[in-house]
């Protein structure tokens, strides 16, 4: 069956109608208007193609040529045992579980919320406190330039709403676990998260996307992080979709004065993964630390597309993305740094390092610097290479066999990225994942 582009837009239009029609009095009329505006923008932009500079190395057709239907929540409850491998620190984390994009209250564990913290399903929050939530939506991730972001705004079913009030320090990690359990027909999920950290507050949010059954599906995720003056936020996004799935995701950050953000994007699973991370340093003294790891194999393709905008002076940004590419996988990194006029004393550093483990793996790395101020420090560097033969010989000359030495080098490289995570249980979980993918990885475990 030939699916035309018109069919596809029509399909999403139908889904929009389903979301906005009916006499759900609880749903604010402004929200319907918001969705319609987003959809109009999506229809106008149209899906990107490889002719767009930002998609030159990543062909989005696997997701743009299919008329995806939203995945329904599974008919039977998901047993806790399927969740267990992904839990971090039961009893400590504030856990929200979404299955196929729908919040599962029975699986959540966010009782005894500390004072000054709201952790809710986004759609519930939109009904309960629309005046608080709606004006914040799409401020960090406006849908005017990115069709996938606009599509998500028009059609998202649910997601997390996190609000940390002024001067509140949340010690327990807020853990958003997205499980996708596709049925045989496949389908789409479109989660949307909104995290608002008020002035002087701090929190840690982990967003973990896991695919459980190996059927094709398309996850289109958007997360907005709105960080106030003197606020601190650590956000970790982990992408572990299945080998048949596509994940197109945006993490959009808006930072105010003297705020600090540490944002990780760690990609392990997914046939096609695109991570857009954009941050806008909108207040002086802001700092952002963007840490990434993509560990790919088979024919996986992951594209990390970063955009850091220094809108005002005296801000710092640091980007460190590491790629480990095995088999015929392909990693793409684009790092755009925009220094606006007047953003003097900007200190921006960008590094992308790629380790190729096979002759058929491929990495592309591209810095894009746009600097409109004259008193700034911007550096960028990219490396693409095999495992360092000198280092390998050094290890072997001490008695370590070649396979173990190779694994050790890869492990060390990955660990440098994982060590940036402050959540010890998450680090441990992902360390195990890295080790499980390395020949002789078991022997590398620290005791």
């Amino acid at each position: 069956m030939e699916t035309t582009l018109r069919d596809i837009v029509e399909n999403y239009g139908l889904q929009l109608r389903r979301r906005t029609e009916g006499d759900d009095a609880a749903r604010p009329a402004e929200f319907d208007a918001y969705r319609r505006a987003a959809f109009d923008r999506f229809a106008k932009l149209g899906f990107p193609t490889r002719k767009d500079e930002d998609w030159r190395h990543t062909d989005p057709r696997p997701v743009t040529r299919t008329a995806w239907q939203p995945l329904a929540a599974p008919e039977v409850d998901v047993p806790a045992s399927r969740l267990a491998p992904y839990r971090l620190d039961a009893g400590n984390e504030l856990l929200l579980v979404f299955v196929n994009g729908q919040l599962q209250p029975a699986l959540c564990d966010a009782a005894a919320l500390p004072q000054g913290v709201r952790v809710r399903g986004l759609s519930a929050a939109l009904v309960e406190t629309p005046a608080r939530v709606l004006p914040r939506l799409s401020t960090a991730a406006p849908h005017d330039e990115h069709a996938f972001v606009a599509l998500n705004a028009a059609l998202f079913a649910d997601g997390a709403y996190v609000h940390v009030e002024k001067n509140t320090q949340v010690e327990r990690p807020i853990y958003l676990l997205y499980l996708t359990i596709p049925d045989r027909r496949g389908g789409s999920v479109q989660p949307r998260n909104l995290v608002v950290i008020d002035d002087g507050a701090s929190a840690q949010v982990i967003e973990h996307h896991v695919g459980l059954d190996n059927e094709a599906y398309f996850c289109n995720a958007v997360t907005e992080l709105v960080v106030g003056n003197n606020a601190r936020l650590e956000h970790a996004k982990v992408v572990r979709e299945t080998d048949a799935a596509a994940h197109i995701g945006t993490v959009a950050i808006e930072q105010q004065r003297n705020s600090h953000i540490l944002a990780h994007v760690l990609t392990f699973g997914g046939k096609l993964v695109r991570n857009d991370v954009r941050t806008r340093l909108a207040g002086e003294g802001g700092n952002c630390d963007l840490n990434g790891l993509y560990m790919l194999r088979g024919s996986q393709h992951a594209d990390n597309h970063l955009r850091v905008e220094h809108a005002v002076s005296h801000c710092g940004s640091r980007e460190m993305y590491r790629g480990i590419l095995d088999d015929a996988s392909r990693g793409v990194f684009t790092g755009r740094i925009v220094v606006q006029p007047g953003a003097q004393k900007t200190d921006a550093k960008q590094t992308n390092r790629n380790m190729l483990l096979s002759g058929s793996a491929q990495a592309d790395s591209k810095p894009q610097l746009e600097i409109y101020a004259d008193d700034v420090k911007c550096t960028h560097g990219a490396t693409i290479g095999q495992i360092d033969e000198n280092a390998l010989f050094y290890l072997c000359s001490r008695g370590i066999d070649e396979e173990a030495a190779r694994s050790l080098m890869v492990y060390a490289f990955a660990r440098e990225a994982l060590e940036e995570l402050s959540s010890e249980p998450l680090r441990a979980q992902l360390t195990e994942l890295v080790l499980s993918r390395l020949p002789n990885g078991d022997s590398l475990r620290d005791d």
Partner: protein, 256 residues
Amino acid sequence: MLEIRGLYASVDGHEILKGIDLTVRPGEVHSIMGPNGSGKSTLAQVLAGRDAYEVTSGEVRFNGQDLLNMPPEERACAGVFLAFQYPVEIPGVATSYFLKTALNAIRKARGEKELDAMEFLQFVKDKAAAVNMDDRLLKRAVNEGFSGGEKKRNEVFQMAVLEPALAVLDETDSGLDIDALKIVADGVNKLRGAERSFIVVTHYQRLLNYIVPDYVHVLVDGRIAKSGDKSLSLELEEKGYGWIEQAAGESCSAGK
């Protein structure tokens, strides 16, 4: 212990070793000296199993085993150790972790019990003290950000931990000030024993004031041009390498 017979080796088709013969018995210290480009480091690397060098003919037997047919890790497990001229930085791999993995691989090969983390820590602390190495270096990534002196000391420290039967020191003195040189030499001397042999590759006689060799060999253009005892190194210090190179050149043309 080590028997090198008619060893020829080349890199990128360029012949560097042109027939080396050398016998090292247990407990002996042999020094290999020679001008730059004479093949000293190549010999050291070939013994450790660097595959960038192609051995075109000859044989090397180590305690009866055919060394050239063993991959580098097997040579290490059999008791060969190379102290690198340029120790390699390995980001992300902690020195202690690296050494524990290496030591346990070697202990396993020797049929000894592997050490657990606690046992290892105690073991290396003593060794670190013996070479005046700050044991905080153990927590840092292998050689990363180490000064030149720290890197060389780390090589001797690793040698002390791994307790090889044959240690090949490749220009361990280069880039060292006199204090660091003494510490390194002292570390080596502590390891000398009736069963442990050394090949000390150096350009300068200076190191040999501290590590006194039993034999001195002068390598010129890929061959041992002259062998002698400690006094040969002093003669070289005085006269330079020119006279041997000249003599070697004459015998070479006479041979043709």
